[in-house]
């Protein structure tokens, strides 16, 4: 089952909706029959415990992964920073996700990010390379010749942008951002993490960021977003580097809707989703799968 099909089926379970393009969230919502909550929020645990609890409440990994799937896991490996500095996704969490994906029968799990700092340094220092390899993930560096320009017919500013081919070709994509303060967008999470599969001059996306980021991400939404908030950066993000800026909410947020996960994550920073320009834009364009005002959120505390 391909990712796009999966999203449609979860929403409606109707063959007739197969032609519906991504982004018609409201239509999907109307037919929703899922018994699982829209999103899960787990707190007060270690990364692996948080994920175990979230998965149990969300229907398990087999809900997302079919045997034989080629799966791409997209953590944030953007910076040459240690896990304790909270600029990159927690390596234990990444490893556990890969383990569960393989356990669910996936043929192959690729781990990839287009880093901001030197890729080899970032992959190593974040400890993601080592922990992902240890559980059988295929850790890959981005190759410049593997970007493919895709059309963005719904784009307000951008009409096309290059996206990493392995991301487009994967059967399922698991988005593994870390929640961080980010001066321009205020909070970076699931949507912004997808910049790691975008090619071209990404700095250009910063100008009129809210519109451009939604132009692109609306076309490439992942199967599920698992937001690492075990440690978060509350200042000097997204690169961080100062341990005094790190907080430990020991939290994990999971949703099949990236916008929902991002909206929830703003709570960690004492912000409202509407405080963030790009989330306002996302909600305005209706790319969220779930109604934010009537969200079926399951909150779990492990303490």
């Amino acid at each position: 089952m391909r990712r796009q099909d999966f999203l449609k089926a979860t929403g409606a379970g109707l063959v007739g909706l197969a032609a519906a393009p991504l982004g018609t969230g409201s239509l999907l919502r109307a037919f929703s029959t899922a018994t699982e909550p829209d999103a899960v929020w787990v707190e007060q645990g270690e990364p692996v415990e948080l994920l175990t609890a979230a998965m149990a409440a969300y229907g398990g990994m087999q809900r997302f992964i079919a045997p034989g799937d080629v799966v791409l896991v997209k953590p944030n490996i953007g910076f040459d920073r240690t896990p304790a500095q909270a600029a990159t996704t927690n390596p234990d969490l990444v490893a556990e996700v890969i383990r569960l994906v393989l356990e669910a029968g996936a043929k192959e799990v690729k781990v990839i990010d287009r880093t901001a700092n030197n890729a080899r340094r970032s992959y190593a220092r974040s400890e993601i390379e080592a922990s992902a390899k240890a559980v059988g993930g295929k850790v890959q560096h981005v190759r410049d010749n593997r970007f493919k320009s895709i059309d963005l017919p719904q784009g307000k500013v951008l009409k096309s942008w290059p996206i990493y081919r392995d991301y487009l070709e994967a059967d399922k994509v698991i988005n593994l951002p870390i929640a961080k303060q980010h001066t321009m967008s205020q909070v970076t999470g699931g949507l912004k993490n997808l910049m790691g599969v975008m090619g071209g001059n990404r700095g250009k996306i910063h100008r009129r960021f809210s519109k451009k980021i939604i132009d692109i991400t609306a076309a490439i939404l992942p199967t599920v977003t698992i937001m690492d908030a075990y440690r978060i950066l509350i200042a000097n993000g997204p690169s961080g580097g100062n341990l005094a800026d790190v907080r430990k909410p020991r939290t994990l947020i999971m949703s099949t809707c990236t916008v929902t996960a991002d909206c929830l994550a703003t709570g960690l920073f004492d912000l409202q989703p509407t405080d963030l320009g790009y989330l306002r834009e996302a909600l305005k364009r209706d790319i969220n799968l779930f109604d934010q005002d009537n969200l079926n959120l399951k909150k779990i505390s492990l303490s």
């Binding site: 700092n117 030197n118 340094r121 001066t183 910063h206 100008r207 690169s239």
Partner: protein
């Protein structure tokens, strides 16, 4: 096995070792096998550092071993170890370098190498380092960094990635490419400025093989001249038996032209590099040549007269003058951003041998360093400089200082390097998007690596041309936090010139005695001495 076969084996192994050290000069780097080891074999290093510091640096122990042995066993370094010599042997073979038959037109150039050496020594007295350009090991390392490796990567990437786009063989090609990346060249394609200049310089040296065998070693190389001076009393001699028929085969074939045409029984020990080809070339029916230890060695005259010395002195004086009267245009030096931990500029240029090992290792990190062109002085040519629009200094990296063979770049600890400003970033508000276009950008702020960001911003209500107003975030640089790493300049998203750029303002150029004792990394190899005897 004959001596010649042994020699070829050693030559190839030494060249291979040189290449291995070169390839391993990359992230991750532990220093267990120090990449500058081979560079520290250069016999010129102890000589010039002695002149520089009036003390011997134990760091140069590989070279000291060579220097200790040379008086007894001669110029074996040139014949057996020098990777440039081996390269030239191979090139001579391919280019069919002529032998010594015919009227001798080139032997009179022998004094040139002594002039180069003496001239370099005279200039070194006036703190001008010209020998680094001509040091054979440094020279070859420069060629590897700026020419051979980048072209090699280009070829590999071009072929394998090209094939990986094809339908059936695509996947296997990609697998081979992956292995290649893991095992041999993990770095991305290196792009270097001045690659052409380095290539032409090397091309001329190689091309001279068309004139004579080992033209460079015979007539130009200052290391050869230095070893030749030491070698002339060597105790291991070529002995020609009475059955020699003066057939001249040995003198014609000698790649250093070290055997006299008139009397094949004498060897010029200043020139001989002990390749032992003469015994091999001697017709088997005579077999007249052997090599033996002797207690009363002959010595050979050095082809360098008082008159030559006078000429060298005058030439050096003129060169010194020319170097000193160059216009010091500060416009040119504004972006002369040296690697972090570089000595103050005059001392830096005195120590730097332009080997480009720092540029090489930077290619696997932030890719800031490039071989420089000529800004104000010839001496700046091919010294490392940061070109920050194309690369930046990686915050968590201090490897350039670790691999510098002469400590022109001090091996700062990472903590100290992170506090040693290379320069200061400045905004060009005519180009910067928030100032010029009244829209948010902040890419520079996002990527600024200091724990307390050196780029901060002020959010101001801004009146737009259409009469409406909005909040715009205007970035600025906090001088005392900025370390001039240049990632802001590299990643500035506008086309062409960056709207934020680093200049040498505020740069710190430490000297060893200013630094605390624990400020420098001591690598395992530095024993038995330390990196910091200077």
């Amino acid at each position: 096995m004959t001596l010649v076969r042994w020699r070829r084996g050693v030559q190839l192994s030494a060249l291979l070792f040189f290449v291995v050290l070169f390839v391993l000069a990359r992230y991750p780097y532990t220093g267990a096998l120090p990449s500058d080891l081979f560079l520290r074999i250069s016999p010129l290093l102890p000589l010039f550092s002695l002149l520089d510091n009036l003390s011997l640096l134990w760091d140069y122990w590989p070279a000291l071993i060579i220097l200790l042995l040379t008086p007894f066993v001669g110029r074996f370094f040139c014949g057996w170890l020098c990777p440039l010599g081996t390269t030239l042997d191979a090139a001579g073979h391919i280019l069919k370098a002529p032998d010594n038959r015919g009227p001798d037109r080139w032997r009179r150039l022998r004094p040139v190498k002594f002039a180069v050496l003496i001239g370099a020594l005279l200039l070194a007295l006036f703190a001008i380092n010209i020998w680094g350009f001509l040091d054979p090991i440094s020279l070859l390392n420069r060629v590897f960094t700026a020419v051979i490796y980048p072209i090699g990567t280009l070829a590999v990437e071009g072929v394998l990635l090209g094939l990986s786009n094809l339908p059936i063989i695509g996947d296997p090609a990609y697998t081979v490419y992956d292995w290649f990346k893991i095992l041999l060249m993990p770095e991305d394609q290196a792009f270097v400025q001045q690659g052409m200049g380095v290539a032409v310089f090397f091309g001329i040296i190689v091309g001279l093989e068309k004139v004579t065998k080992r033209f460079w070693c015979r007539y130009i190389c200052p290391a050869g001249a230095w070893l030749g001076l030491l070698a002339q009393f060597r105790l291991f001699e070529r002995v020609v038996g009475d059955n020699c028929t003066d057939c001249s085969i040995c003198s014609q074939g000698c790649k250093m032209d070290a055997i006299s045409d008139e009397n094949a029984r004498t060897t010029n020990k200043v020139e001989c590099i002990e390749c032992f080809a003469c015994a091999e070339n001697c017709p088997p029916k005579w077999n007249a040549i052997t090599y033996q230890w002797t207690q009363r060695p002959q010595h050979s005259a050095i082809d360098y007269s008082r008159r030559h010395f006078l000429q060298t002195g005058l030439g050096s004086f003129a060169a010194l003058g020319l170097m000193r009267i160059g216009l010091h245009n500060t416009n040119n030096t504004a972006t002369l951003i040296r690697p972090p931990g570089s000595l103050p500029e005059p001392e830096f240029l005195e120590k730097c041998i332009h080997c480009l090992e720092c540029v090489r290792i930077c290619q696997s990190n932030g890719r800031a360093l490039q071989p420089d062109g000529i800004r104000n002085s010839l001496l700046e040519l091919w010294a490392p400089v940061s070109v920050m629009r194309m690369g930046y200094c990686e915050y968590n990296c201090n490897l350039c200082g670790q691999v510098c063979p002469t400590e022109a770049i001090l091996p700062l600890t990472l903590a100290l390097k992170q506090k040693t400003p290379m320069g200061l970033a400045h905004f060009d508000k005519d180009l910067c998007i928030p100032y010029a276009k009244l829209e948010d950008c902040l890419v520079c702020e996002e990527l600024c690596p200091t724990p307390d960001k050196a780029i901060k911003f002020e959010s101001k209500t801004t009146l737009l041309p259409d009469g409406t107003s909005k909040q715009v975030k205007y970035p600025y640089v906090v001088e005392k936090l900025c370390i001039g790493c240049g990632i802001c300049e590299t990643k500035c998203p506008i086309p062409g010139r960056a709207a934020i750029f680093v200049t040498i303002e505020g740069q710190m150029r430490p000297t060893p005695d200013e630094l605390p004792a624990d400020a420098l990394t001591i690598l395992p190899v530095s024993e038995p001495g330390t990196k910091m005897t200077a």
